[in-house]
Symmetry: C2
Subunit: 492 residues, 2 copies
């Protein structure tokens, strides 16, 4: 804390990197592109996991666990999926190390322990899971099969950034099988809704629900749905995807069932996932030059109480007032920390909890003791007010709700202000540079135009919003006819 964070307005990217490290969220490890998720960062991820897991279970899913490794022959079975991930696969080729005869104390790969078949470290688990589903599905009675897995996956990315793009990341991946196309599509849409609800209600991040263009689809999917969020620099971040897999994996792995008419048919599939990337979205959506701003629903510490005291006697007098508050808050399920350590000054603590994004801070000193008051500061607006101790628990409870709502609304206003309808190429290019954000514009529907625009501007089609209305227009680049607007942006 001796030195402040870089300012967002000066170097957003540097601000992000520094914030992630200083707030003890994550750091780079000794393994290229792999991160260490530090305890404070992990405790936020645990809160995300818990909330998502509850939502998955409420919608009828159960968890299971499938192998980390995918034998190469299974990996290549669904051709598009294999092609999409082949270039970034970590591959296990050997199962033993041995002493290096030329260097005492060193090890080398044992050439006699080469695997007969190489194993791919899962970049995603469709292949291994569908090869298993083949044995689990015989009849329509076995459907739908609604399974989720919490796991680590590895994609050998060349340029990595903490949380946003790492070689190994943590995620959940749902994999479901259905008797009909309609049911599979309904599942795909339902899970997109679950993600959107989670993003908006827990992360306080407004998202646009949409579909990806063919270019941006998941490798092996017939359709990819996504939620897209806007970061404070106007760039888009894909926060979750839900894929309608058609019968692609069922055909690749020969997963058939006998339907009610006793005929054999291929099943229909979906898969959907969110990852530790959400941590990046959470950080970049709300935080400021002083540090993290966390939505109360995901904050590991929701309330911190900092006593301002000289000597043990004063601390004791303060504690007497504070402990009943702590107890009452805990009883309401509010996580509270009473930081009565005498190793740091109150000022140091204030800065530290600001950096860590604790939503509500109570301070109580000698004058408060005399007056029967406390000072409450909220992290989101930095507003401070003095309250009577009597009734302070209710004040806090309401404040937490207010903060949750406020940061959502703030992010929503920001997105609204930075989303523009644009109808000409010149304006499109100018807007991207001068007022980066989401651009709602017409596109002629061809992958070629999409590619060209990306090449010229680095902007991609984030999605075709699900609620886009029919509207006659002309493609901003080619001038060809278009029937609805899509969302363009530069993206993480």
């Amino acid at each position: 804390m001796s030195k402040g964070l870089p300012k967002r307005s000066e170097n957003y990217s540097e601000w992000y990197n520094e914030l992630v490290k200083r707030a003890d969220l994550a750091e780079n490890s000794a393994v290229r592109g792999c991160m260490v998720i530090k305890p404070y960062g992990y405790s936020i991820w645990e809160k995300m996991q818990r909330a998502l897991d509850d939502m998955f279970k409420e919608t009828g899913h159960t968890n299971a666990y499938f192998p980390l490794f995918v034998p190469k022959s299974l990996f290549e079975a669904e051709e598009k999926n294999a092609e999409g991930f082949a270039k970034e696969c970590a591959v296990v080729t050997h199962y033993r190390l041995k002493n290096d005869p030329e260097n005492k104390g060193k090890l080398i790969v044992d050439p006699n322990a080469r695997l007969e078949e190489e194993l791919v470290v899962r970049p995603t688990s469709e292949a291994i899971i569908w090869s298993t589903y083949k044995n689990w599905i015989q009849s329509y009675r076995d459907l739908p099969l609604l399974i989720n897995q919490w796991a680590n996956v590895v994609r050998w990315e060349m340029r990595t950034r903490l949380f946003l793009r790492t070689a190994e990341f943590l995620w959940q991946e749902g994999h479901t099988a259905h008797a009909t196309k309609e049911e599979a599509i309904a599942e795909t849409e339902q899970m997109l809704d679950v993600y959107a609800t989670f993003a908006e209600e827990f992360m306080a991040v407004p998202v646009i629900r949409g579909k990806k263009t063919a270019n941006e689809r998941f490798a092996g999917a017939d359709d990819t749905y996504c939620i897209e969020a806007m970061m404070q620099d106007g760039k888009a971040l894909q926060a979750g995807t839900s894929h309608f897999l058609g019968q692609n994996f069922a055909k690749a792995f020969d997963v058939k069932f006998s339907n009610k008419e006793n005929q054999q048919a291929y099943v229909w599939g979906t898969s959907w996932g969110v990852s530790t990337r959400l941590m990046g979205a959470l950080i970049m959506a709300h935080s400021d030059d002083e540090g993290l701003v966390l939505p109360p629903k995901l904050a590991p510490i929701q309330v911190v109480i900092v006593p301002i005291f000289k000597g043990a006697e004063q601390l004791e007098a303060i504690s007497e007032k504070v402990l009943p508050i702590v107890k009452a808050l805990k009883k309401l399920g509010i996580s509270v920390k009473f930081d009565n350590s005498d190793k740091q000054s109150p000022g140091f603590k204030f800065a530290e909890y600001e950096l860590k994004g604790v939503p509500v801070r109570l301070a109580i000193g000698a004058r408060d003791l005399a007056n029967g008051t406390v000072e409450i500061a909220r992290r989101d607006t930095k507003e401070k007010k003095t309250y009577e101790i009597e009734g302070v628990v209710e004040v806090i409870q309401n404040l937490l709700e207010e903060i949750q709502e406020n940061i959502y609304n703030r992010a929503l206003s920001f997105r609204t202000e930075n989303t523009l309808e644009v109808d000409s190429w010149d304006e499109f290019v100018k807007t991207l540079d001068e007022k980066p954000g989401f651009i709602s514009a017409h596109w002629d529907g061809t992958p070629e135009t999409e590619e060209k625009i990306k090449e010229l501007t680095k902007a991609t089609i984030r999605c075709i919003p699900l609620d886009a209305k029919e509207e006659e227009g002309k493609c901003i680049y080619t001038g060809n006819p278009s029937s609805r607007r899509v969302i363009f942006a530069r993206a993480y």
Copy 2:
């Protein structure tokens, strides 16, 4: 369920394998030695995780996440640890696949994408974690560092068995660093206590707390503490270990801190873990020829209600009685399933829930309706009794506690009956064959004798019990003097 399980008395090993599969706990996968943990099995594991995680947090630990991969140069830094695990390491050597020019649609490892340094898939994480701790620890103020990780690990075992020994398994691994030797030992012992408490209070499995002999120590530890449980075939299963690492990893990774006297010193370490192996212990400790017997505290479904009905009208009348019971049980936090499906007969359902180990079963039919009663069957004793509907919720609540206690006591009696003090070699050999169990015997304290006994009988020293009393005796094999008894057994 068409065919019963193999009988324990005829083929214990086959009984176990079949039970794991038929009760939908786990199955083998397409990857040699790796298992798929099926939803029902995973839901038991989730309950274990939740209980353990709560206990870790209550004792001051937080979770974090470290990379899956360990660069070879870090892996080999702590020599004994490296030596212990080198022979069973999965090694990533490449980071890309490419199209096989000779086989359309097939992939091969891209020889141009060889890693500069090979990556070991973690068999355990001391190396990667201590290389990180080096940067986290500077001063005594940074200590103790109390971190746990939930993760998958890979050990390339040649002979595998579902849950008991698999190439990939799930576990938690605690890694702590302390300023003094005493504190580190206290932590090691504390975590052994946590494991023992979990085994006894949640799994209902009595365990012996002890220390491993030097031969059986974790590679890189100065001391390994363990809990040992007895299975129904009299064999031992090591259910958890807690290691005092001394300064071995601190020295290997140069982790020093400045103490209160401002002197540089190496920190002291511990690590401790339990894994999905606990699932094997749970299954083998309690289950019978009809299927699983689960302790209520870990049962995904604690109570199942099976209506016995003909036609929708009768079902409705039954439901009217049942739904308030369901509601009342849920309110008490008891997980209950009302299986009102008409696809299977009550008899089929009874067998199914017996196989799945549901602790309490309620059945209610036409006669019960008339009498205002229900039939309650407990899984552990198979006892059935009829109760008035009035008050049934309390009956169930008490019954769940009683079952938890009963299966613990049953396992404890079994262990007591099958633990013998033996004082001669002949008796030792005879007991192992005729009445397999734990043998409490004297040993001369040498690794050579331990090895010899293992070679001759396949029995190993499971542990030196922490509560072993001083007692003069003679080693059962060499006749040399010994001052305390140790526990011998054949083991999983």
